[in-house]
């Protein structure tokens, strides 16, 4: 495996009350590039993703064992600032979920809460990064809810980029979109991967093959295999991975 890991999990366990959702995950996600987490429904891939920005903390009864390191430092240490962690590790959700505010106010939300300077320039750059700036022209004051779903999802990505994160966690970001919209989001992800470390959870095998550089296959709360995407898809080391990607179950 290549260079230093951006995110590393060490014997990571997670329980929802009595349900053991993650069972001793050891995983080192490389800096930059796109890592896909694949696996059948309920295998724990979204749960794993949400341990990276500690969104699982919001779920009553969720308990974590082991550790997650971001740039070598534990994100489950006591002194950690959750707000700083989430500023560095941002998230895009399954359904586009802009606030019922204008396009501009949506993107400005993050910089405002973090007290960042140059609000206007920041909003503009973030919208430019996702291509919305030129598409919307001067319509950045319209309600975000009036945009079609694909533009809403790109707006959500802009909103995230505005706080200058290092890692983008994407939880099935295209599952609510049609194929053409999906293609545009994928293009955007590829354009962003040289700057950001992107981790995407997807149940869409073709999507993982198309966009990702590394792929992790999960099954029943365990990490079965992690390698370069090409290798996972052409010469899987584990027979369970082979069965899944060849479509025998899932």
């Amino acid at each position: 495996m290549p260079t230093a890991a951006k995110i590393e999990t060490k014997d990571l366990h997670l329980w929802y009350r009595t349900f053991h959702a993650l069972k001793g995950i050891h995983l080192a996600i490389p800096s930059r590039g796109i890592t896909a987490i694949i696996g059948p429904s309920g295998c724990g891939k979204s749960t794993l993703l949400r341990t990276f920005n500690r969104m699982n903390d919001l779920i009553p009864g969720a308990r974590v064992g082991g550790d997650v390191l971001l740039d070598g430092a534990s994100i489950y240490r006591d002194a950690l600032s959750l707000t700083q962690l989430r500023k560095r590790v941002g998230m895009v959700f399954q359904r586009p979920n802009p606030f019922p505010l204008s396009v501009y106010e949506n993107v400005a939300y993050g910089p405002k809460i973090h007290g960042m300077n140059d609000l206007h320039g920041r909003v503009r750059r973030s919208l430019e990064q996702t291509g919305l700036w030129s598409e919307l022209g001067d319509r950045w004051h319209v309600s975000a809810l009036s945009l079609p779903p694909e533009q809403q999802q790109r707006l959500c990505i802009s909103r995230l980029l505005a706080v200058e994160p290092e890692v983008l966690l994407m939880d099935e970001p295209c599952s609510a979109l049609d194929p053409i919209a999906t293609a545009r989001i994928e293009e955007l992800m590829i354009a962003l991967k040289s700057t950001y470390t992107i981790v995407i959870v997807t149940h869409n095998m073709q999507q993982a093959a198309r966009v990702s550089d590394y792929a992790a296959y999960m099954l029943l709360g365990e990490l079965v295999e992690f390698a370069e995407t090409d290798k996972v898809f052409t010469q899987p080391a584990d027979s369970r991975t082979e069965e899944y990607i060849s479509g025998r179950f899932g």
Binding site: L82, R86, G90, F99, G110, K112, I113
Partner: protein, 302 residues
């Protein structure tokens, strides 16, 4: 169908229709009677002048002024307290927290307490305990706050309307989609930033509705202010929090029972009731309008 069964069916239909008709008729008679008798005297003069010659002539301006002052002070007290309670229960406390269970039980019980009991509580707690306490500590026992005053009446009324505000605010908070909270957190917002910048702006019209309903209830209740601050007849408008005041609902009671000349007071009484009704109807109507607008917006937003 037999003749008998048909007859039973028709007569029952008529009975249900009659029941509805009775309700409509009662409302129509009350409103019509008040409107017809009250509208004569109503005019700028009536609304802007003080009662004269006992209460047999003049207007009701001090009562209108007192009512407005009462509900403003009440709102200042009840909105922060009610909103903070609801925000704590819905946003901070764990769903199964025993404290929340206790607070909710208390609020439900508060909503069931008769208004006159609030009035007595106001006397016992605000006037005799808090008011006398202030007088003893700040004024060396000289009487300032240990007597009926608009401040104590407003606070008593705030307690009466507290359940309305808490329930309306909680409902408004519940209507804010969970995904907005998640996004705010995922962008690094603290809980307070999430509440202040995302949840409260989304809930503000619902909170406003609760506030208006509280005001319209407060403007109509008499029992809580009976012993805590309302006055029979005052030569001056209240200028300090420790002053007594006149109020529309109480003024109706005074006009109806304390007049030296019943016939002369009658038209004034009708017009006062009309003003009180129009005021509370207008407030309720506004609340209903705002609420239906929120509901429509929520449906479209999903």
């Amino acid at each position: 169908m037999t003749h008998r069964a048909r007859w039973a069916a028709t007569s029952f239909t008529s009975l249900t229709a009659l029941a509805c008709l009775i309700i409509v008729a009662v409302v129509a008679i009350i409103l019509g009677n008040i409107a017809i008798h009250g509208v004569d005297r109503l005019g700028l003069d009536f609304l802007t002048r003080s009662p004269e010659h006992g209460v047999t002539q003049g207007g009701i301006f001090p009562a209108i002024f007192g009512t407005v002052a009462l509900v403003i002070l009440m709102t200042i007290a009840v909105i922060p307290l009610g909103v903070a309670t609801a925000v704590y229960m819905h946003e901070y406390a764990a769903k199964d927290s025993p404290l929340v269970w206790l607070v909710r039980l208390a609020i439900q019980n508060l909503a069931g307490v008769p208004a006159i009991v609030f009035g007595l509580f106001g006397v016992g707690f605000f006037i005799q305990f808090v008011g006398h306490g202030i007088d003893n500590i700040l004024y060396g026992g000289e009487l300032h706050y240990g007597k009926p005053a608009i401040l104590w009446a407003s606070l008593t009324m705030a307690l009466l309307t507290l359940p309305t505000v808490v329930v309306a605010t909680e409902e408004a908070l519940r209507a804010v989609p969970q995904s907005y909270r998640e996004v705010a957190y995922s962008l690094g917002a603290t809980r307070w930033q999430m509440i202040r910048k995302v949840v409260l702006p989304q809930a503000v019209s619902g909170i406003l509705t609760g506030g208006i309903l509280a005001v319209s209830r407060g403007a109509g209740e008499v029992a809580p202010i009976l012993f805590t601050g309302a006055a029979y007849l005052l030569p001056h408008l209240p200028t300090r929090l420790s002053d007594q005041f006149m109020e529309l609902g109480y003024h109706v009671y005074v006009l109806a029972t304390q007049s030296p000349d019943v016939e002369a007071t009658k038209p004034i009484l009708y017009s006062t009731v009309l003003v009180l009704l129009v005021l509370t109807f207008a407030l309720n109507f506004t609340a209903v309008m705002i609420r239906s607008r929120i509901r429509r917006r929520l449906r479209e937003g999903r």
